[in-house]
């Protein structure tokens, strides 16, 4: 188990290095920070001078090297755009994104699992058909449109929910939360839903498929033959077995929720790392972009590790190193 965790962590480091490397490979092409940094009252000389100072004339692997060495000391440089330490910026924005991600993840998980179970237990029911079809609409529209649509309906027309932002926030240490105020919670609703739709559909379908599989296994038939109550069978035996494979995929999905937030945060002006990234891309704020990508990788790695550990807890076969059925 421990060896496993260590191995995982090692892999994670590699993953993140790879990510950072690719990132730097790419940055040279997404535009020229200097032109965005210097206003129109600037000469070619100024451009050259600044580029020199930022070390942008060095080959990318040198830049990469500097990035890594600094990153190892927790130094991510300062944002070209906002002239503040990147680490600080990201830390400031993190709570917003995490709260949004968790909220939508919860919606996706609860909704997805519940509906998944329902449609699996009543495969032929009309309602199941409706749910299955309706859930698809969520994945049939680009996120930005869904967002705008929700704003239009609930903020502009009905005026029941705020159209943007995070509402009133309260600070708990360095953590700035919107979950403690009514306005904070109300502002969370629309973005969270927008962000969750895609995952919800995905999880729901996954749960349904897996559940249907499990319901046909021998041990479920045997459980029936032993006269266990339908509840006990469906929720005691079937559900838990369903969850084993569901956990992995879901884990991956939740990882990408954070990154998916890019669009949602932009549309709802949600002050998270996603919108920070988008704003930075606009002006090629390399330090922020690099840090963000590494951050996303980190999140993914952590979640993955978490998922694997969860796996161990749920499935006894893995504890004894037996290859799991799935």
């Amino acid at each position: 188990m421990l060896a496993f965790v260590v191995r995982r962590l090692l892999q994670s480091v590699i993953v993140m290095l790879v990510v950072a490397f690719i990132a730097f490979l790419v940055f040279r092409y997404v535009g020229d920070p200097v032109t965005s940094m210097l206003g129109q009252d600037s000469t070619i000389a100024d451009h050259e001078e600044l580029r020199e100072r930022l070390g942008l004339n060095q080959p990318f692997y040198i830049q990469f090297y500097h990035f890594v060495t600094n990153a190892l000391q927790g130094q991510f440089g300062i944002s070209y755009r906002l002239q503040q330490p990147v680490a600080k910026l990201i830390m400031e924005r993190l709570p917003a994104t995490i709260e949004l991600a968790l909220a939508s993840a919860t919606i996706a998980l609860v909704g997805g699992v519940v509906m998944g179970i329902y449609t699996a237990l009543r495969p032929r029911a009309f309602t199941s058909g409706v749910i299955m079809t309706a859930s698809l609409i969520g994945v049939s529209l680009p996120t930005f449109l869904i967002g705008i649509g929700l704003i239009y309906v609930f903020a502009v027309e009905l005026k029941v929910l705020p159209s943007f932002g995070r509402g009133t926030v309260t600070d708990i240490g360095w953590w700035r939360t919107g979950l403690l105020t009514e306005s904070g919670l109300r502002s969370l609703i629309l973005p969270a839903i927008t962000l969750s739709l895609f995952q919800l559909t995905l999880i729901m379908r996954l749960v349904r498929a897996e559940m249907l599989e499990v319901l046909r296994t021998d041990y479920i038939r045997f459980a029936r033959a032993r006269g266990l109550s339908t509840r006990a069978i469906n929720f005691g035996h079937a559900l838990r077995n369903t969850m084993v494979p569901v956990i992995t995929i879901t884990g991956l999905q939740l990882g990408s929720v954070i990154a998916f937030a890019i669009i949602t945060e932009t549309v709802f002006q949600w002050p998270g790392v996603g919108s920070l990234f988008v704003n930075s891309v606009q002006v090629v704020d390399v330090p922020v972009m690099a840090a963000y990508l590494v951050f996303v990788a980190l999140v993914f790695v952590v979640i993955n590790l978490f998922v694997d550990i969860l796996y161990f807890i749920v499935d006894p076969r893995l504890r004894d190193g037996v290859r799991s059925g799935k």
């Binding site: 060896a3 041990y219 459980a223 029936r224 006269g227 109550s229 006894p316 004894d320």
Partner: protein
């Protein structure tokens, strides 16, 4: 007279598929008396399992009971609402499934599953239920039940799991136990014990047993009365003794005759082979195979030492040209590993394999020889034929690959020829595997094996997936072909009877070691090794009928 525990009257089960209606059980009637063990025997598709499902009320959609009655202790149950039927299950009717590996929920301890079942049916406290669970397990022959009750299914062997399953079935003290092929997934040695446990437990708890199986031997040993089913109908009913000794119906006769018996066989055994000499066509010398346990490539990278498991250790034997050598062993004995090494699928850790003098693992040359001379017939005819390929292509592949025949016409000719050889109509070469029955598929597999004109064929459990009647036909075919082409067989099987019938010499493999090897009759008639003796005793055989 006493009232039967179960009586089935004119039961009909239909499977309405979208275009056809298929009648799985066709107007059958029988009774089971208290404490009685009734065997329901028949080949696959006879409708015996469906009868079991019907009784306990677990027929899978779209199947349904069209007509007939099922009475439990005189009370009609087939028309009860689902809720009430559920109450019967486990409480009054218990069931045991074929595969112990998949019958238990892998995520819960056996204790939890037992206690859950017990408490669903009996008004017992957690502790009482636990105690009862431990008792049951002990009864079922699980050593140190008290300690092992909190273990997970995967921590038990197949046989042990089946004991647990039986304990579960009996947990609430039902009057009737339906056992559906309870032993077919187990090794012979374990089989015997399980049957014993099943019988004992049921008699202790006064439960009648409906024993569903394809294995006459099991019935012969276990059951009081038997019901022979064929194509959904009951062919014959009576006491086991009567039916086996004096079968009335032609089908029963055919069935019984097709069963290979371990008693020295009628078909005149081939003269026993001379002892291992170097002139032999196939020579296996000191074959060894080790496996590294556990861990993907990453573990390999990260942890230095990996435990070694020796699957085959120092196995040596030889086969005369045109003869058959039977390799007997239970699952995990390493017999399949041997086969894989001989046909070139797994590289031996040590040892030599000489076919007609060529070392089949000696580099390119050896391999080329091997491919020309050695072929294989697999156990599962459903997995051994590529479902997406036409029969013609399947059979043609070897000759194409080895360049025996290339131009289209020639290939077609040969394929047609081979199909004739395996008694199939050449016109079928345009069809896909799924259009054939198990027996026919095995014939196609044989045709493919012959397609490269081999001299030596390794047959890994060639008939164990087939019904007895089909098995007989396939074995006959193999004999015929052996005579026609002077083929040499290595016959790997867990079925001692089959081996005795087919082979001139036999080797008994146990935990990777060849415990005994020699002429068939010597080994069967006066075995030296205890293990061999144990095996032979364990074999359920109709000749041993009470």
């Amino acid at each position: 007279m006493t009232e039967p525990v179960l009586s089935v009257k004119n039961l009909i089960v239909d499977f309405p598929f979208h275009n056809t209606n298929f009648r799985a059980v066709n107007d059958i009637s029988f009774d089971i008396m208290p404490g009685e063990v009734v065997g329901v025997v028949g080949e696959s598709g006879a409708g015996k399992s469906m009868t079991g499902s019907a009784v306990i009320g677990l027929i899978e959609r779209p199947g349904r009971i069209t007509s007939g009655e099922i009475l439990l202790k005189g009370q009609r149950i087939d028309n009860l609402p689902e809720a009430d039927r559920a109450k019967l299950r486990g409480k009054r009717i218990g069931m045991v499934f074929q595969d112990p590996l998949t019958s238990l929920n892998p995520l819960y301890t056996i204790g939890r599953q037992l206690i859950e079942t017990i408490r669903t049916h009996l008004p017992l406290s957690e502790e009482q239920a636990r105690q009862r669970a431990i008792d049951l397990l002990t009864e079922a022959g699980i050593p140190k039940a008290a300690d092992r009750i909190d273990a997970y299914p995967h921590q038990f062997s197949g046989g042990m799991r089946q004991r647990v399953v039986i304990a579960l079935a009996i947990a609430a003290g039902p009057e009737l136990i339906i056992a559906d092929e309870p032993t077919s997934a187990l090794d012979v040695s374990v089989q015997a014990q399980i049957i014993k446990v099943l019988k004992e437990l049921c008699s202790n708890h006064g439960a009648a047993v409906m024993l569903i199986t394809h294995d006459m031997g099991v019935i012969a040993q276990t059951a009081d009365r038997m019901v022979v089913m064929h194509q959904g109908k009951i062919v014959e009913t009576g006491t086991v003794g009567d039916i086996i000794r004096r079968p009335r119906e032609p089908y029963t006769v055919k069935l019984i005759n097709s069963i290979p018996t371990i008693a020295s066989d009628r078909s005149g055994a081939p003269a026993s082979a001379p002892a291992n000499d170097d002139g032999a066509f196939v020579q296996i010398k000191g074959l060894v195979r080790d496996f590294e346990l556990g861990g993907g490539s990453f573990t390999k990278v990260f942890k230095s030492k990996t435990e070694i498991f020796r699957a085959v250790s120092d196995v040596s034997f030889s086969i005369q040209k045109g003869k058959t050598y039977g390799l007997v062993g239970e699952s995990g004995s390493g017999k399949s590993t041997c086969a894989k090494m001989i046909v070139g699928l797994i590289r031996p850790t040590e040892g030599k394999i000489l076919v007609d003098g060529h070392d089949v693992w000696a580099g390119g040359a050896g391999e080329r020889e091997r491919r020309k001379r050695v072929q294989m017939i697999f156990q599962d005819p459903y997995a051994s034929l590529n479902p997406r390929w036409r029969v013609a292509d399947i059979i043609a592949e070897p000759m194409r690959t080895l360049g025996i025949a290339t131009n289209k016409g020639e290939v077609e000719g040969r394929v047609a020829d081979l199909l004739n050889k395996v008694r199939l109509d050449p016109s079928v070469m345009r069809k896909f595997p799924h259009e054939f029955s198990g027996g026919q598929r095995q014939r196609i597999a044989i045709a493919r094996a012959l397609s490269s004109q081999p001299e030596f064929i390794v047959c890994d459990e060639p008939t164990s997936a087939l019904d007895v009647s089909v098995q007989a036909q396939v074995l006959d075919l193999m004999r015929a072909l052996q005579d026609e082409f002077g083929l040499t067989y290595l016959l790997i099987s867990h079925n001692l009877a089959v081996v005795r019938q087919m082979s001139s010499a036999v080797g008994v493999l146990h935990n990777g070691v060849l415990v005994e090897s020699g002429p068939t009759d010597d080994i069967f008639d006066n075995p030296q090794a205890d293990y061999t003796r144990m095996l032979l005793d364990a074999v359920p055989d109709i000749s041993k009928v009470a």
